[in-house]
């Protein structure tokens, strides 16, 4: 009988020992371990596992970076696991090449079922994580649409809107951009007109949905 070779890649000894002990009782699994990416690569060089269970916080660069690297190297099914994942993390793992995502609070039987499911071609993803991922995809779609709409704004208008989204008053925006308050008002009128927005507040909410706090026009210096 062909045994499924499982690599558990986790820096926390409790998880490696837990999976090892659990799978040792099952005749269809063979287990290998690694505590960091270097160890993972050594295992893969030796004999690639069928499934790699990779901790989100795997040293040195994290589980998603590890998945991104390993996905290019071979046919191993890559499953990320962690505590309390958020939707962006699950989506990032899948986009990096993971074939599934598991909670670290998974039951022993749940883990065995999930691993056998992978062998049968299933993607292990609990119901809540699947919902999270769908939400994340919808959010990305909304963001892409908003960014397309925002492309009609000039760089200066985007800068103004960025300040507005952060709650700045016209006077503050004028001082920060070295322009008059009158010019700020003109920019604001143009922004509302171009985006077909009814109010400054609506435009600010739209901007936040499109770019969020990480992609400020002020710091990025690039138009949408």
């Amino acid at each position: 009988m062909n045994r499924t070779r499982i690599l558990v890649a986790d820096s926390v000894p409790i998880f490696r020992a837990g999976v090892r002990n659990l799978l040792a009782r099952e005749s269809d699994f063979e287990i290998v371990e690694a505590a960091d990416l270097f160890g993972v690569e050594r295992v893969i060089d030796d004999e690639p596992p069928d499934i790699a269970l990779i901790d989100l916080d795997l040293p040195e660069a994290g589980g998603i970076a590890a998945v991104e690297k390993l996905a290019k190297q071979g046919p191993t099914h890559l499953i990320v696991w962690s505590f309390e994942p958020d939707r962006e993390t699950v989506l990032a793992a899948v986009r990096a090449g993971a074939g599934g995502y598991l909670h670290k609070e998974i039951s022993a039987q749940g883990l065995i079922r999930a691993l056998r499911g992978v062998v049968d071609g299933e993607a292990p993803l609990s119901r809540d994580l699947a919902t999270m991922m769908i939400d994340a995809l919808h959010a990305l779609e909304k963001q892409a649409t908003a960014r397309e709409r925002a492309a009609v704004l000039s760089m200066r208008e985007r800068e103004v809107l960025d300040f507005v989204a952060r709650g700045a008053r016209n006077k503050e925006i004028a001082a920060a951009l070295f322009i008059s308050e009158f010019t700020v008002k003109r920019h604001m009128q143009n922004i509302l007109q171009k985006l077909e927005m009814p109010s400054r507040r609506a435009a600010a909410a739209f901007y936040w949905a499109a770019f969020g706090p990480e992609e400020s026009a002020i710091t990025a210096g690039q138009p949408a």
């Binding site: 000894p13 020992a17 837990g18 090892r20 002990n21 505590f83």
Partner: protein, 126 residues
Amino acid sequence: MSAKVGTGGEPLVAVICEVPLLAEALAASLEGIAQIRSFPAELEDLEGLLRSLEPDAIVVDTEAQAAAGAPFAREAHVPLVHVLIRQGELRVLRNGEWESRDNGKGASPEAIRNLLVAGIFGRQPT
């Protein structure tokens, strides 16, 4: 203290955990030393359960169950180990007070085993 003899003559360790793999890991490290009975962390009335079970040691991995298990552990003079898995730390209830145990190796199954063995068989770890 002297270890209460369970079935098979081994001390009994109650493991109440949010992370079931913790119980799996401990089962391996305590093999031949103690018996494990594991329970999910969501269970209610942990104190009542402990009074019925009368374990020789308790391991928990949540703050709530550490607090719930403390009265029984104090009263019965049994070691209570709190494994903070996310932080890689261990705490042990000793003389009614929580003490951090940093052996430099984090919360490994062996470190937990050593704390339990010391608590059950009467010697404190160095």
